[in-house]
């Protein structure tokens, strides 16, 4: 099996397996022994990693992205390998943050838009407040993760939005 490249919260790790050894994996050259001790459900498992017990939830999506939750901590992991990475270079896939591309601000939860603090054309810095959204009786400010210019605005004050709905696009500087 070709070595895997794992990106965990922006850090890269390589994972290698050896043929016929079903209990070992080498992470950045360091050997770990893993055994699946218990399967609680489709996506919840208890592993022993070098005898250390770890209960995790593994949720894969269609694009080899994995959400792994361990002790209440959630890790966002993308898994690929050299071959796939080469391919991806040729097939441009827009995932919202390409260099010089646009950042798409989506509603992180269902809620009510109570205030929009920017207009199309507004220049924003990283950390600027963009929208105030209310859910579960609390107001939450959404801030800009990038510096740029508001390119389009889809949200309207006083309207309810579902989770994942595009609120605005910000053109990266």
């Amino acid at each position: 099996m070709e070595p895997l490249i794992l990106k965990i919260d922006d850090k890269e790790f390589t994972a290698e397996f050896v043929r016929d050894d079903h209990v070992s994996v080498w992470i950045n050259g360091k050997k770990f022994q893993i055994e699946l001790l218990k399967k609680y459900s489709e996506n919840i498992f208890s592993f022993a990693v070098d005898q250390k017990l770890m209960q995790v939830q593994l949720d894969f999506d269609n694009d080899d992205n994995l959400l792994l939750s361990l002790d209440g901590l959630t890790y966002e992991i993308s898994i690929t390998n050299e071959t796939k990475r080469m391919l991806a270079k040729f097939i441009h896939t827009d995932n919202g943050t390409g260099a010089g591309g646009n950042f798409k601000l989506k509603a992180p939860m269902p809620g009510m838009i109570v205030k929009i603090l920017v207009d199309v054309g507004t220049e924003v810095s990283k950390g600027d407040k963009l929208v105030i959204i209310e859910a579960m009786k609390m107001e939450n400010s959404l801030t800009s993760p990038v510096a740029g210019i508001i390119k389009s605005l889809n949200a309207k004050e006083g309207t309810a939005v579902e989770k994942g709905v595009l609120l605005m696009e910000i053109e990266n500087h």
Partner: protein, 501 residues
């Protein structure tokens, strides 16, 4: 004693009250909106009645409908829990009018204490120290601006009808006043249907110390000591403990006397809480009175051995308090953590979804008041608190270590929770030493420790991820298929992945 009571609430507090009632051999009636049909609280009762509303929340706020259900179900009394109708004088009055006992204070006491202006006046007369601020409610921006200027910044804006941090804003400097005032008005209109605001001088980083009082209908008043609720985020309590690390015997006695005077001044009956802020020089000021059972009542129960929910029911049925002030003993140290469905790695945004797996910690000194179980859906309609984890130790150090142990054994899969954050607070040296105030999260807590917590296990995580990928993903998805081999379809998770890229 009552034969049957109705619990006009939901979630963990409804379960808590039903447990108390059952121990008194009182039958319970739950009310539920359709969205809550499968929630544990509904099924903890002896009888369940469906209620309706334009929104789920509206159903639990529908006084008329709830009174009707109480009558039809044969309940003799209603326990309102906290939140919802618990501090609504009209509801308390409507119960009386319908011949149903309201398990709580009289409407007059709720009314006066629920109105910050009247409460301040009354407290002032009763000799209870209060923080400088406005005497009247304000809605006019210009007028408010002038008052704020006169008091001097920083100032605190509060919903005059509110409580629990909703509609509350801190304004540190003049140029932020307009945004703060408008935000406070909006939030308070939303939460309480009243946008009038109350302005007061802000005491920088005080301790939040509150006193539990309890009174029967025969004029007996007892205080059960303090709770320190200084660990707050955006004015919402997160961690509470009793006793406080800063009160000595003398201060506890003095504050206790003031708390009882405050309760007597409004003719209070049943369980209530007098909240104080305590400044660096140990001056204390009346903040507000909560005329209901508090979320954090279990810490008091644990160190006094008194069951507050049971006492509430006994008092409402006309019984005398079974203990005097002299008989109240405090033993050990108790800490409570509120477990919220909020993501501490993403600005504490509420997290929704289905609880896919739940394992609660247990063992010596651990108590959990929970409103969830495996399979139940956490939605946006209600407060994101899932459960309360309460520990008792022989002293504060044992309680801290026990809480740390219990938190790290708490497994909730399906929604993100604030557990990593709570763990980080338990490990924080200033919190451990007991040097903290309401400014702790803003001034002492470094959110970088959360990232470090994650980084510690990264190699293990990589190993599991790679192993899991080979085990689940590779086998099921040969290169030629279209992705139908995906192993699960948890939509909210997928959207979170996309959200964060």
């Amino acid at each position: 004693m009552f034969k049957k009571i109705l619990v006009a609430n939901r979630g963990e507090i409804a379960v808590r009250i039903m447990r108390a009632a059952r121990e008194l051999s009182v039958e319970t009636v739950s009310i539920f909106h359709e969205v809550d049909r499968e929630m544990p609280f509904v099924h903890s009762a002896d009888f369940a009645w469906r209620i309706y509303g334009e929104t789920p929340k509206a159903a639990y706020l529908d006084i008329q409908q709830i009174i009707e259900v109480a009558q039809k179900s044969g309940a003799e009394a209603i326990h309102p829990g906290y939140g919802f109708l618990s501090e609504n004088a009209k509801f308390s009055q409507a119960c009386i009018d319908a011949g149903i006992k309201f398990i709580g204070p009289k409407p007059e006491a709720i009314e006066v204490m629920g109105n910050k202006t009247k409460a301040r006046e009354l407290m002032s007369k009763a000799g209870v120290p209060i923080v400088p601020g406005t005497q009247e409610k304000i809605t006019d921006l210009k007028k408010a601006y002038e008052i704020a200027k006169k008091l001097g910044y920083p100032i605190l804006l509060k919903a005059s009808a509110g409580g629990g941090g909703k509609g509350m804003r801190l304004v540190e400097k003049e140029e932020d006043f307009v945004e703060g005032f408008e935000g406070a008005k909006r939030e308070s209109l939303k939460a309480f249907g009243d946008d009038s605001i109350y302005i007061e001088k802000y005491i920088v980083n005080p301790k939040h110390i509150e006193f539990q009082i309890i009174a029967d209908e025969h004029g007996n008043y007892v205080h059960l000591g303090e709770r320190d609720c200084s660990i707050q985020r955006r004015h919402q309590k997160i961690i509470e403990e009793a006793p406080s690390t800063v009160l000595d015997k003398d201060l506890r006695r003095r504050m206790g006397v003031v708390a009882i005077n405050a309760a007597k001044a409004c003719g209070y009956v049943n369980a209530g809480t007098i909240e104080f802020i305590l400044d660096k020089n140990k001056n204390f000021y009346f903040l507000e009175m909560n005329t209901r059972l508090q979320v954090e009542h279990p810490v008091t129960e644990r160190i006094t051995g008194i069951d507050l929910a049971k006492e509430q029911i006994l008092i409402a049925s006309g019984e005398k308090l079974s203990f005097t002030q002299e008989e109240v003993n405090w033993r050990g140290h108790s800490i409570e953590c509120r477990i919220y469905a909020e993501d501490p790695f993403n600005n504490f945004l509420p997290s929704t979804g289905k609880i896919q797996y739940l394992r609660e910690p247990g063992g010596k000194g651990v108590r959990i008041d929970s409103g969830i179980e495996t399979g139940c859906e956490i939605n946006i309609y209600f407060d994101p608190m899932l459960a309360k984890l309460v520990v008792l130790g022989k002293d504060r150090l044992e309680a801290l270590n026990r809480m740390e142990r219990a938190l790290s054994n708490y497994r909730i899969k399906g929604v993100r929770t604030n557990i990593p954050f709570l763990l980080a607070v338990m490990k924080h040296p200033e919190f451990r030493y007991g040097y903290f105030d309401t400014g702790f999260i803003d001034h002492s807590f470094d959110f970088d420790v959360l990232r470090k917590m994650k980084a510690e296990n990264e190699e293990f995580v990589a190993a599991i991820a790679a192993f899991g990928y080979r085990m689940l993903r590779n086998k099921q998805k040969p290169a030629s298929t279209d992705g139908s081999g995906k192993i699960q379809t948890n939509k909210w998770k997928q959207s979170q992945i996309k959200l964060r890229n």
